[in-house]
């Protein structure tokens, strides 16, 4: 009988534990205050090893600044981070401070997930470029996030490999020169390619081609297309010819490393000279090379007769504070330190490209922590950007998935550029009217 009681009680305890474990936390899970006035904040971000290490070091240093605050790091690669953050926000279990990406903000600001940072006295905003905050951080008249760094699209060039392969590195690239040089290289050695491009990069090249040709965003804010059939055929024809000439690594090979480009063996073995990428990704791209390999940056490909350079500068990432944080003041104070403080800037350096805060930028430069290639990419980007910004529709995942389908068909030779353009326009028009109806 005693044994029955004992096991029965165990069953009750386990059931109670199960129920308690499954009941949703109210507010950000994990955040809390213990008896000694110790505050715990969760901070989540994505990145590569370099970014993880430096950010963890900064968190360690913050212990000296605010001994009563403990920062719990939650970090991972880019893959799956968006899904995790959105699920956490929907279930009220997000971290107190989150690193976010610009294209997600339109969706995420449909609800009041984030604190209005303009109300936070602990946060200094003067060090940021006002246009940057207006264009990328303000949604529904609320300042919901702050930029971590300044990110510019650039050509990342393995100069050592380019020199060895006979590829010039001192020219301004346009669509003709890049095609000619890529073709020549592949003709000399069929295992070599000028450009590394997964479907994401091909879509980006297609967009840039169109924007330079039309001077407009490819998808307009009024749910119409910013290009004609003829424009799409021209862009897809260039892409088709470049693919056939071996300018790009075949898409089937490159796409196996989508989202983890630096793991592509052809890039690691220096059989590909260039990639069109954002300056914030330069460090992981270079991390796979031996020390003596020189990596430089150049302006992205710009058509000779471009109506717009299509050079874009945007925040590397954004930081937001959860509206459900139990310690918004402490979270704001930490964010302020992370974004502006000289010590933090010296630790973080360029792991999120050039810091967006002018104070942090100066401190990082003084500490010699900004890679010249990254600095040059941002400098060139700022000098050549023409202000044509990505709107929410042009980065909408349902819209871009249609573009991906058409580009893949052409890249794999399963559709002619004409067929690809016709299918693309028809599918986009259907999707845009569907999205408009859902508004």
């Amino acid at each position: 009988m005693r044994k029955q009681w004992w096991t029965g009680s165990l069953a009750v305890v386990m059931s109670a534990a199960l129920i308690a474990g499954c009941s949703g936390g109210n507010g950000t899970a994990g955040s809390g205050e213990d008896n000694g006035g110790q505050v715990t904040l969760r901070f989540s971000w994505w990145g590569g090893d370099g970014r993880h290490q430096q950010t963890l070091e900064a968190i360690e240093a913050y212990k000296q600044v605010a001994p009563n605050v403990r920062i719990e790091p939650e970090y991972q690669g880019f893959d799956g981070y968006e899904q995790k953050v959105k699920t956490q926000l929907a279930s009220s279990t997000s971290a107190d401070i989150m690193q976010l990406d610009v294209p997600w903000m339109e969706d995420l600001t449909q609800s009041d997930f984030f604190l209005d940072l303009s109300d936070q006295s602990e946060l200094s905003l003067d060090e940021f470029d006002a246009d940057f905050l207006t264009n990328f951080s303000t949604y529904n008249d609320k300042l919901v996030a702050l930029p971590s760094g300044v990110n510019a699209y650039a050509l990342v060039i393995n100069k050592t490999a380019a020199d060895a392969l006979g590829v010039p590195t001192d020219i301004e690239w346009d669509w003709e020169t890049i095609y000619e040089e890529g073709k020549k290289l592949h003709e000399r050695d069929s295992s070599k390619h000028l450009l590394l491009a997964d479907h994401g990069v091909l879509m980006q090249d297609f967009n840039k081609f169109l924007m330079q040709r039309t001077g407009e965003q490819w998808v307009q804010e009024d749910y119409t297309l910013g290009f004609t059939q003829e424009d799409a055929v021209a862009a897809l024809t260039w892409l088709d010819e470049a693919m056939r000439a071996g300018v790009y690594q075949p898409l089937g090979e490159a796409d196996l490393f989508y989202g983890k480009t630096e793991q592509n063996p052809k890039w690691i073995n220096q059989e590909i000279a260039m990639i069109s990428a954002m300056s914030s990704t330069l460090l992981p791209l270079r991390s796979v090379f031996p020390e003596d390999v020189e990596v430089i940056t150049a302006l992205p490909v710009i058509a000779k007769d471009a109506k717009d350079t299509a050079v874009q500068v945007r925040p590397s990432q954004l930081y937001a504070i959860s509206a459900k944080s139990q310690h918004p003041e402490e979270a704001a104070a930490f964010l302020n330190w992370l974004l502006h403080d000289a010590e933090a800037a010296a630790i973080l350096g360029d792991v999120r490209s050039v810091p967006a805060s002018s104070a942090a930028q100066q401190a990082a430069v003084d500490a010699g922590k900004i890679d010249p290639a990254i600095a040059r990419a941002v400098e060139m980007g700022l000098a050549n950007a023409t202000g044509l910004l990505d709107n929410a529709l042009s980065t909408n995942s349902e819209v871009t998935s249609i573009l991906q389908d058409s580009i893949e068909k052409v890249a794999f030779g399963r559709a002619t550029p004409e067929q690809g353009a016709t299918e693309l326009i028809a599918a986009l028009e259907r999707k845009l009217s569907d999205l408009q109806a859902r508004q």
């Binding site: 199960l18 129920i19 449909q110 898409l251 090979e253 796409d255 893949e408 794999f412």
Partner: protein, 299 residues
């Protein structure tokens, strides 16, 4: 009177023991099951509360979603290819491992290992490195003078390569076949050999018919698993190249976690549920024509 109370108490205590499991079932299985049915009639993006839209999700899936047709096509092909090959391979290995040899248990364990590891992300990553253009498999083929094959980058080949990963995880089916083979009475083979039947004839006339109940079980389990296959296609090819490995579970994931259309994804999952139910029903219905039960299927 005393006895009845005691029996009643035992019943409650029994229920108490399974209470943790029952609570788990309700929270992790039944609740999501019924909620997903409700969500399938809503527009729900996780950010805003769900709004009821009737049958719109189902209408959209059946009339205006080329991705659904493609996913269904790819998944059907995958099931038709991978399941029979896997079962045949499992049976083949089971026959070999049924031999009474010294140390055979070690071989049985070793051959079961891929099934423990097979569904993991690590093995999927390994598969990518094995089968990529400059991977181990092509290097080995090159050494034999065979030209390399674009196993994962060619839209006409990639699905078969993923199918190989599935076939490689033959262990659980193999163990069941092995148990089945060992249950076949030896006197049947004795009678066969006295009658002068060859090994091949005995395999088809004794072994296969006696194993059909296990074939039925394995067929249903593997078919259900194959319809829901996700990890390999997600990690290795992410549905590409050109949607040639765009399995149904990947489509479902994309709608749920890339487009954040939870209502739409719920509708897709219910359609998959019905498809699996119908196919299972058909297999069961036809099983009386090809499954042999020694006792006539009465037990």
């Amino acid at each position: 009177m005393f006895k009845r109370t005691k029996r009643k108490n035992y019943r409650y205590i029994g229920l108490l023991y399974i209470l943790p499991w029952l609570i788990g079932l309700m929270i992790f299985q039944l609740y999501p099951f019924f909620m997903s049915f409700y969500y399938s009639f809503t527009n729900f993006n996780m950010v805003a509360p769900p709004s009821f839209i009737g049958l719109d999700n189902y209408k959209e899936i059946f009339t205006n979603d080329p991705g659904f047709t493609q996913a269904l096509k790819v998944t059907s092909l995958y099931v038709i290819l991978a399941v029979p090959v896997k079962l045949a391979f499992a049976l083949f290995i089971a026959l070999i491992l049924s031999a009474k040899l010294k140390g055979i248990n070690l071989f049985r364990t070793v051959y079961y290992l891929p099934s423990i590891l097979g569904g993991s992300v690590a093995i999927a990553v390994l598969w990518r490195f094995l089968f990529m253009r400059d991977g181990v498999v092509n290097n080995m083929l090159g050494n034999l003078g065979i030209p390399s094959i674009d196993w994962l980058g060619n839209p006409d080949v990639a699905l078969y390569t993923l199918g190989l990963l599935s076939v490689w995880q033959f262990g659980s089916s193999m163990v069941l076949f092995l148990a089945g083979i060992q249950q076949i009475p030896g006197d049947l083979y004795e009678a066969g050999s006295i009658d002068g039947a060859s090994k091949t004839r005995m395999f088809f006339k004794i072994t296969v018919p006696m194993l059909t109940p296990i074939v039925l079980f394995n067929l249903i389990m593997q078919m259900v698993n194959a319809f829901q296959e996700f990890t390999g296609a997600f990690v290795i090819t992410n549905g590409g190249p050109m949607k040639s490995t765009y399995l149904y579970a990947l489509k479902l994931y994309e709608e749920a976690f890339t487009f954040f259309k939870m209502g739409y994804a719920s509708a897709l999952s219910w359609i998959l549920f019905v498809i699996i139910m119908v196919v299972t029903g058909i297999i069961f219905k036809t099983s009386n024509r090809w499954v042999y039960y020694e006792d006539g299927g009465k037990s």
